[in-house]
Amino acid sequence: MRRYWFSIALLLLSVSGIGTYYFVGILNHLPKFQIETVQGNAKEGAAVVLSGSYYGDMRSEFLEVSVKGSKYYKEKGNFRTDILQANSWFYENLEMQQLLKDHKTFMRGKDNVGGFYRDDEIVIYADLSTTTRNTNAPHAKLQLSFLDEESEKVVRFKSIALGYSDDIYAIEDVQRVENEAHILFRKYSNQKTYELVYVFDLKTGKQLRQVDVSSQANERKGQDVQLTKIQNKSLNNANDTIFFVGSTGDGEDRKVFYYSYSYLTGILTEREEPLWEGRFVVYGLQNELIYYAEIDPHVVTLSVYNTETNERKRSYATVTAEQLGVDEIKAAIIESDRAYLYLIDHDDTSGVAVLNLEDGKLLFKGFAAPVSGEELTEEEQQENLHLNNINIVQSLEN
């Protein structure tokens, strides 16, 4: 046995050296943080993720902080998480998560949120043919899949030809109008962009007609209007109307217009009243209501505009930095009946306030703070924490 001492020593060295490092050595490398609840219900803050960097001696570490705790990007990443991260932005969408739960097989291989439509009876998915999707290959081909919610039967129409070579299409929206599937495309052709709606028969997949949306705007203005669709947060649009922001000119001459387009009539209407007002605005469209928040470092003002009745409640709620007890309100996000405010406190600490969208009431307030029990003093840790971004990540459990 003594003869084998070298081999045994080698084995012991390997196991103890590597084992000690990974189970003892790497401990307590980076401090832990979390969003501490200062006021309100912690559940309201569950979806908030603040991100930024923690400054070490010579390098900084990218991290995310939430109510649950902190995750350092480099510490958590490995081959497995890299693979599982694929298309995470798609899987993080709440409605996609629901669809995945309900129809896992149908959802295989789909990755465009804008290509979905769902109501009680049917799920529609529109996609550009996989062989030409990532190329500028000629003859973009459309694929339509119709899933019957009850029977779970799927009808597919493949290779529906769209247009000429050199044209690049992107699917922005899908809407059902009775027995028709309307698909809004953004088409790039000859260095110009067009918004087009192609209409297909739900049963046969045949192309019924096309509607040129952007030309309606261009004709009326006598010049090219840059149309940008306003995002609607839900998959099924009850009143078949979508909204665009149009702009002409740039710099000093830039003019902004607001349009609504009805899938039912195919008509693009310019709205007399703007959808929102104010300089630094974030908005959230929930069915027919457009909620918008004007952001100022000292105050946030909430307003809502009803696109059907044209009723506007300007500044129905105001929240000041003082009221919240902070130095600055840096940003806001409107999402699912809530307004999330990104706060900067007196000593540069990042925090978040969650307001009820309907009345502006404060539901939650919390700040990023070190979790106690670490080696560096808490002050030093807080000093080294530099968060600068807010994101809302929802999951079905939240």
């Binding site: 003869r3 084998y4 070298f6 081999s7 080698l10 084995l11 060295l13 390997s14 196991v15 103890s16 050296g17 590597i18 000690t20 490092y21 990974y22 189970f23 050595g25 790497i26 307590n28 490398h29 070490g56 001696d57 010579m58 390098r59 480099k74 510490e75 958590k76 990443g77 490995n78 081959f79 497995r80 693979i83 599982l84 991260q85 694929a86 298309n87 295989r108 291989g109 990755d111 996989t130 062989t131 999707r133 990532n134």
Partner: protein, 280 residues
């Protein structure tokens, strides 16, 4: 089992001097480089204090307190060169561990093939030994780091130094950060991948030894085949797959499975070649 272990020991025993030399060279380079850097840094620090900061500088700036992390950052080459040397030697030995038994006047392969033990033990003993060489050198490096930190504490007086975390020290070194990943799970993936690559190479080597000239071709084809099998989930089952698109979790599981399959097939094929097709 017993004979397998004895074979492992034999493989380790015949490589021991090279292993010790590699560790020795690594130690010498790294300790010398570290001490040299520290002394130069302290000297420059003294000069800065006396004459202000515009005298001839070796380092761009010397911080008020030296940390191991800073020292490592400025001694990179001395640390990395021996690591590269070890990698080169071990890579060559992947081939040499087999070919040395056929070379020269004393073809040891005769002896090995005539041992009263299943021939797959020869294969397994070599991979075990090689894996142990790699892991022991990595472990040696890990063990040396706290010792080097101790040296820093001996060389630099207390008021001029402050602590670093070992993970930061590793991260700032461009070679070590790749060889010693942050997570144990990633360590398992990287070194597992390396092991499977070596298994594939072993089988390719045995193909060459069994079929002479055609063997080299078979070996290359075998390697290409293995790579294709493992890459298949990404190439053929991704989001735009026309066969069946898989969800990320499914791809992960499939890839893991295929790696094990390739490893298993390599061991099986290599063992069969050793048992039935090998020729001296």
């Amino acid at each position: 089992m017993n004979r397998y272990l004895k074979l492992v020991h034999m493989e380790i025993h015949r490589f021991r001097w090279i292993l010790i030399a590699m560790m020795g060279i690594t130690a010498i380079f790294q300790f010398s480089g570290l001490i040299w850097t520290l002394k130069k840094a302290m000297a420059q620090f003294e000069e800065q204090k006396i004459q202000g900061s515009d005298t001839r500088k070796y380092f761009d700036s010397v911080p008020d307190t030296l940390t191991f992390e800073w020292a490592m950052s400025n001694t990179q080459m001395w640390f990395i060169l021996p690591v590269l040397l070890c990698i080169a030697v071990l890579s060559l030995y992947v081939f040499f561990i087999w070919y040395r038994d056929w070379m020269g006047r004393h073809t040891f392969i005769y002896r090995l093939l005539m041992l009263p033990t299943a021939r797959h033990n020869l294969f397994l003993a070599k991979i075990t030994a090689l894996l142990l060489f790699v892991l022991s050198i990595v472990a040696f490096q890990l063990v040396m780091l706290p010792v080097q930190e101790l040296v820093l504490k001996l060389v630099v007086p207390a008021e001029l130094r402050s602590e670093s975390h070992i993970v930061d020290v590793i991260n700032i070194n461009q070679a070590l950060v790749e060889l010693i990943p942050r997570q144990f799970e990633q360590f398992f993936y990287i070194y597992g991948l390396g092991t499977i690559a070596v298994l594939m190479l072993f089988t390719a080597i045995l193909l060459e030894r069994s079929y002479q000239r055609m063997g080299i071709l078979y070996g290359i084809l075998y390697l290409a085949g293995c790579v294709l099998v493992v890459a298949a989930p990404f190439l053929y089952f991704g989001l735009d797959s026309s066969i069946i698109p898989l969800y990320p979790m499914e791809i992960y599981v499939l890839v893991l499975l295929l790696f094990f399959v390739v490893a298993g097939v390599s061991v099986w094929l290599g063992s069969r070649l050793l048992a039935k097709k090998i020729t001296v």
